[in-house]
Symmetry: D3
């Protein structure tokens, strides 16, 4: 498989088939180069490896986004973690631990984002 | 089991039996209250839950410490992740992903810390 | 006094008697475990000590939340600092100093949060 | 020229003549001391130097604000960079590079801020 | 008093008379402009106000430097806080609270810096 | 030119011909995958664009690394900025401005790193 195809495939696995087109359209209007970096490098290279199982990888992404306070992207990856088989309680357990490493407000904000992201998710279930 | 005992037990699981006494002596001379918070709250409460399997938990800790640039504690948890069954390659895969969320210098520094921490670990194997 | 009671007592001192029930209900729907950590550890342990006078402690909290850019929690603690006897001018002086240590945008954002938090506070005066 | 005049002059160059009065009124109601620091120190001292050409200086400001995630001030300086002669494409190239040093979410958020800031700017052209 | 004199006076109060000359020589060889900013703006303006008592101000500085992980400057201000009348135990209480807002590793690192800074201080007592 | 060749070429321009082999050997022993990401993505994609002139790009990199406190990589890019034609005084002017956006300790640390990096550079002149 050529690199861009690997990227789209991996993106579909983590973001959900139904969300790839919308995500790409959003990124493309934001910046076509950033879109290309995300497709080819982030999904085509970094996420494409099979050393980590996808559920562990998505939970580590959740941990990273909570520690850096990136709520928009955290919402996306909380849903991705559910899609890879993580339970809501496992996600919450990762976020409680954020209190230890990045402080209670970071954990609190991340849990608020998670609550919103999963309310929609359980309704939409995509 | 009373709370302090749960904490010491959990600490032993994550830091290795042989390292508990030394870690506690170090923390105690640093600050007896911080020592107590770490034993009773961090290990007695946060780490004591069984929702996450210990390997996933340790890899999420590695992700958090790499994103916050805490090299001293990262060295400790890279060894802890190995102790919980994560391979060196799995740890490295988490840290490569740090480049995506916290930038390349954070990934680079974390991989340098990991190399040093595991060089000692494979010799000492504790 | 048992630990949970110490926590609730200390919470009432810092957040205001009238706000304890609402804060706890909010935290509980967010995450019952985080709620428990905040009651038992943050207020039952860390804030319960009497080494620092409450006004100095609240001003240090304001300093920490402004430097970490946590606007939601900063609004809560700006009101708490007023409740412990800090004048609005003292709070502003702490936040001006944030410009020196975390940059002008952090000071600016914190002063905007403070203005909003105290507008409500002087009306409601709780 | 006395120091406050240098500051106002420099502020006008970077923020646009038409925006000085509004910016000062905003800062003054936020905090008169912070207002004075920004006029006398930030613009009267730091920005007043002529070692860096204004376009390079404004692009470096854009880089700094994107890395620290300060969206409000970033919007102001994206317009300032345009005013100093930077093309939209040059600004975007700086922000793509933010992905390398502060992670993809920081680059993404900064590009979203830029899109909004320049949509208004090209209409208003001030 | 002219502004530069206010700055040197305030610097002497916070850093200790005996340390002013050495600090200024260090800053001057680092960068003469940064030296001037620190004398005229940081000490001549921000620290010169009398709204906050010097002990509270120094403890807030300690809080800010611990949250931003700036160990070099933290060592200087831990000594400054002692000079303004804060006890070692009060400083430690501020730093324990850092665990709540910026995570345990930040508190831990700050307590290690404090231990070193005060070991020298109690010997030298300047 | 194929992508890896573009990457090596761009790397040579920014790091200096004489330093490419050493840098690659260092990165390769650190982590072969990170090495590949840096060659193919960072230099082969992000730095390879010609929208920004290399001097402006290197100064923006200096700004980013100073704001994120990455001293090791900052030393490398201070030298790179000199190689692209930035004067030492231009670099210092960027770093003084870091005081405004990320606080004085970040500016101070970056100027100390710069002093060390350029002391070697002017001797070695590579």
């Amino acid at each position: 498989m050529a690199e861009p195809e690997v990227g789209l495939d991996t993106m579909a696995r983590f973001l959900g088939d139904a969300n790839v087109e919308g995500s790409r359209a959003y990124l493309n209007q934001l910046d076509p180069e950033l879109h290309r970096y995300i497709t080819d490098f982030v999904y085509g290279q970094v996420y494409a490896g099979d050393v980590l199982d996808p559920k562990t990888r998505a939970l580590c992404t959740v941990a990273m986004l909570a520690c850096t306070g990136q709520q928009l992207q955290l919402g996306v990856y909380v849903r991705s973690a559910r899609r890879q088989g993580a339970s809501e309680e496992e996600i919450r357990e990762v976020l409680r631990q954020v209190a230890v490493y990045a402080g209670f407000p970071s954990a609190w904000n991340a849990l608020a984002t998670t609550k919103r992201a999963l309310a929609d998710f359980d309704e939409g279930a995509s």
